[in-house]
């Protein structure tokens, strides 16, 4: 079949194409044989002009046509059949069958039209390539012919020159010979004349010079050898360049420099990069070499210890390079190679590996019923662009459920997240740079039943030791080393420690457990409360104090050194502390009795921290994450 004929048929010639479709593949291969065919789809990928191995497989697949067994291959025929059959079949089931068949046939028609469209594209491409190739050959052969005729002219001119030289030389020699002949002839004549002379005296007078002349003549040797060779000196024609040209008709040119793509989203991992590039459609490439090296900012440009350049050879137009450093920039470039040669290098592209996952600082994460403060370490030595915090709600048995929310573009290593009360959340963090997000950090579970905080051990008085779980503090009675007193943020007089309360102006509740005989101060204070003062003795702290006198238990509710005078008949050993920023109250309760003990009224201007101190040796335990009893916020 004539390809052009089909193309001429175009979209209108659907029936022709589809009827021939079954044979299309073999024909197509034949058609490709001399000039190579690539479909538009194939062109996007590596396309090879002179070899077949590059012909994209999925192109073939897209062209595969599977004729429907029970329907005629022609779409027009199919529709005709439907129309005819309509009258024959009965209602109901038959109708449904017809509908199915019709929709199937419609599907086929669409499929075939699609197929025809593909074919058309291919025909165009074949023709285009054929034309280009023809032009290419013609130009090549013209070049060769031109070179040959030029070479011929050069050789002909050379020979002519040589011939002329030789003839001139021979003519010269001929002249010399003639002259010598004339001279000898004349000499002979002179000698004969002398010989015939009758006058003896005259003979004698003449013989002497004649003999002398003859002697002289005899001395003159006439060169009778040929001064020029008879053979023409024809050097072996150097046809190598022509040969190269002839050869090059079948050889493709060396590829031009590939174009390396900028980094795509999600193409990087912590230790690997997926790099893509493209080639010019006319190029034939057998393989590529990808070069890459880390970009080290602190290495001077002229450094002799420039980072080692790695090299990978690949056939595809993409490559995943591995064993890289996390959160690092790499410089990459590509060359293409075929039988003819190596292309120039592509532009240098900068890619970045994604960062290492951050590390959540569990001891510094705090929460309350409305929010959570998550803090983490970058996990990377060099800075990252931002962080993404991901949270998902989870049921109480720990199975993940619900949608994942993300907070993106967090610039620092902490994030305050608004949450719903009374839920459980799984929270993780990713570090992000232009290469993409890192893997998830370890997950932290946050429960919003109550307020949760750890103790700020940096603030602890040197005499205080804190249990491993971080919630019980001990005041031992051993001597204190003097060196221990010099720390920055620690309480120096009051044996106290602060808790790390989340900075949310809502309601917070926690409980403190003490022994009956423990003398303590518990309450809240501003973060910068004087470290060399006792809790409750200044304007920056509010606390309940228990004093054990010989006769009784005494309770004070101290702020700025003043306490109301009150008596409590049942000693609280578990004390609830309720802080309400909005109402400006700080209340204390005997948890066991649900008994209200005292309420401070103060509109806290700054965020406060829970504070705890022991006035004599003993222990005190903080209980966290407790849902505030209803009575605490009446």
């Amino acid at each position: 079949m004539d390809l052009f004929e089909i193309r001429g048929g175009g979209g209108g010639g659907l029936d022709v194409i589809s009827e021939e479709a079954e044979h299309q593949e073999s024909r197509e291969l034949k058609a490709m044989d001399p000039y190579n065919v690539a479909s538009d789809r194939g062109r996007g990928a590596a396309r090879d002009v002179s070899t077949f191995q590059r012909f994209s497989v999925d192109t073939n697949e897209s062209l595969r046509f599977e004729p429907c067994e029970d329907s005629p291959p022609s779409p027009t025929g199919a529709e005709d059949g439907y129309d005819d059959d309509d009258d024959v079949f009965k209602e109901g089931e038959t109708e449904r069958e017809i509908v199915t068949t019709r929709s199937r046939l419609q599907g086929k028609v669409a499929e075939m039209e699609n197929f025809a469209g593909h074919l058309e594209e291919i025909f165009l491409t074949v023709e285009e390539n054929f034309g280009r190739q023809e032009q290419h050959l013609e130009q090549h052969y013209n070049d060769v012919l031109q070179t040959l005729s030029q070479r011929y002219d050069e050789r002909a001119a050379g020979l002519e020159e040589e011939k002329k030289g030789k003839l001139e030389a021979l003519y010269g020699q001929l002249l010399v010979c003639g002259r010598a002949l004339d001279a000898s002839k004349e000499l002979i004549e002179t000698a004969q004349e002398v010989y015939r002379s009758q006058d003896k005296r005259l003979f004698l007078k003449a013989v002497k010079p004649t003999i002398k002349r003859m002697e002289e003549f005899a001395k003159e040797e006439v060169d009778l050898t040929l001064s020029t060779r008879l053979e023409f000196d024809t050097p072996l024609a150097d046809m190598s360049d022509v040969k190269t040209m002839m050869d090059s008709i079948n050889v493709v040119p060396a590829p031009s420099a590939p174009v390396i793509n900028p980094q795509m989203p999600n193409s990087a991992s912590q230790t690997s990069l997926r790099v893509c590039w493209s080639l010019f459609s006319d190029d034939t490439v057998e393989s590529y070499e990808l070069y890459y090296r880390p970009v080290l900012e602190d290495t001077p440009a002229d450094s002799t210890c420039a980072p080692y350049v790695n090299r990978v050879k690949v056939k595809e137009t993409h490559c995943t390079v591995t064993d890289l450093l996390p959160n690092a920039q790499y410089e990459l470039w590509v060359t293409a190679t075929n039988t003819t040669g190596i292309s120039p290098a592509s532009e240098r592209a900068l890619y970045m590996t994604v960062p290492s996952p951050p590390v959540i600082k569990r001891r510094e994460c705090t929460s309350c019923p409305e929010a959570a403060m998550i803090r983490w370490e970058s996990g990377n030595t060099n800075p990252v662009d931002s962080y993404t915090v991901e949270l998902s709600e989870t049921s109480t048995d720990g199975t993940a459920g619900g949608v994942t929310e993300s907070i993106v573009a967090v610039p620092t290593c902490q994030c305050l997240i608004q949450l719903q009360t009374g839920r459980r959340y799984l929270i993780a963090v990713r570090a992000v740079n232009i290469g993409g997000p890192s893997d998830k950090s370890d997950v932290i579970t946050v429960s919003t039943t109550g307020t949760f905080f750890h103790l700020l051990e940096d603030t602890a008085h040197p005499c205080l030791s804190i249990s491993e779980d971080g919630f019980t503090m001990f005041y031992g009675d051993e001597e204190l080393p003097i060196s221990a007193m010099a720390l920055d943020d620690t309480f120096t007089r009051c044996v106290a420690v602060l808790g790390d309360l989340i900075p949310v102006r809502g309601r917070h509740y926690w409980e403190v457990e003490v022994d009956d005989g423990t003398e303590f101060r518990i309450g809240v204070s501003y973060e910068d409360t004087e470290r060399n003062s006792f809790l409750g003795a200044n304007k920056t702290s509010w606390c309940m104090r228990h004093i054990l006198s010989p006769s009784r238990h005494k309770y004070e509710f101290l702020h700025n050194g003043w306490s109301p005078d009150l008596r409590i008949t049942v000693n609280p050993v578990r004390i609830g502390v309720a802080l309400d920023y909005e109402r400006g109250t700080l209340s204390f309760f005997n948890v066991a009795l649900e008994q209200h003990l005292h309420t401070f009224h103060c509109h806290f201007q700054n965020y406060v921290h829970p504070c705890f101190s022991l006035d004599n040796p003993g222990a005190l335990t903080v209980h966290n994450s407790i849902e505030a009893p209803e009575y605490t916020f009446i």
């Binding site: 009784r552 005078d565 009150l566 049942v570």
Partner: protein
């Protein structure tokens, strides 16, 4: 049990009313004040019974204590009865301010001529609650009691004598140990006779020592500059000592500068209403 409305004034979104009725316990006409919070229009509300002190009527608390705003906030009906029967024509009932009229001491008198009318204990713990529950949108299961001075004594006695009946109790400057103070001794001797053992049934300190029942949470406010405190009429330390020993939860607040007046009560009324609300609305 017919009620006659004496007055009704809109107050704090609800109504402050005064009613009069014929008391069966006291055999006389009695007035009582009732504050109905806005919530009472639609819901059953808990009731706080307020017992006033010597010489007072139902008017003192409703005009001076400023309890209505807090009661409206927490949806509490406040009922304030008078402090004694009135107009019974008993000889000597108007002779002194601390005995007889205006000084019923919330006891059921056993002695003539008082025993017919002076049954304030039964009146405030039985008759009045029944009357309230029958005529107002009150929740009979949620009641509490508070009072001032003699009324504080009454509140403590009512609560300690009826474990579980009152969800909460509080008092301002209560007469904590009447058997040991002049007021109490005079009243008890008059109403109950000379047998001191009968007095014990109306002495909060004694009752606390024998208390057994659901956990109470007692809030007591006391002015430090209260002339009757220094005159040893109130004796809160005796009650605190017993409660400490018996582990009855009391928060006793000695408020510096305050005296025995309703100015003092007004200053801490909100705390007390809140204390009651905590248990009434739990």
């Amino acid at each position: 049990m017919a009620l006659t409305q004496v007055s009704s004034n809109k107050c704090a979104g609800g109504f402050q009313k005064v009613f009069e009725h014929d008391s069966t316990e006291l055999k006389c006409k009695m007035k009582f004040a009732v504050y109905l919070p806005p919530q009472a229009e639609t819901d059953k509300c808990p009731v706080l019974y307020w017992l006033s002190g010597l010489t007072c009527t139902e008017q003192n608390v409703i005009t001076k204590a400023g309890s209505q705003l807090a009661a409206a906030e927490h949806g509490i009906i406040v009922v304030a009865p008078d402090t004694s029967p009135r107009g019974c024509n008993i000889e000597g009932e108007d002779e002194s301010w601390d005995f007889g009229t205006g000084a019923g001491f919330y006891v059921d008198a056993t002695q003539d001529p008082w025993k017919t009318n002076y049954r304030m204990y039964s009146y405030v713990t039985e008759e009045l609650p029944k009357l309230i529950n029958a005529n107002f949108p009150s929740d009979p299961d949620r009641m509490s009691i508070s009072g001032h001075s003699m009324g504080g004594h009454g509140a403590l006695v009512c609560a300690l004598k009826n474990p579980g009946k009152y969800k909460a109790v509080s008092a301002f400057s209560p007469i904590c140990n009447p058997m040991q103070c002049p007021w109490g001794q005079k009243a008890f001797a008059g109403y109950l006779g000379s047998d001191r053992s009968t007095w014990e049934a109306y002495d909060a300190t004694v009752l606390a020592g024998a208390y057994s029942g659901p956990q109470l949470d007692i809030l007591i406010d006391q002015g430090r500059d209260d002339q009757f405190l220094s005159a040893s009429q109130l004796l809160p330390d005796n009650l605190i000592a017993v409660c400490s020993e018996k582990k009855i939860p009391v928060v006793f607040r000695l408020q510096p500068g305050y005296d025995h007046s309703y100015f003092f009560i007004y200053s801490f009324m909100n705390d007390h209403i809140k204390h009651h609300a905590k248990y009434l609305n739990a």
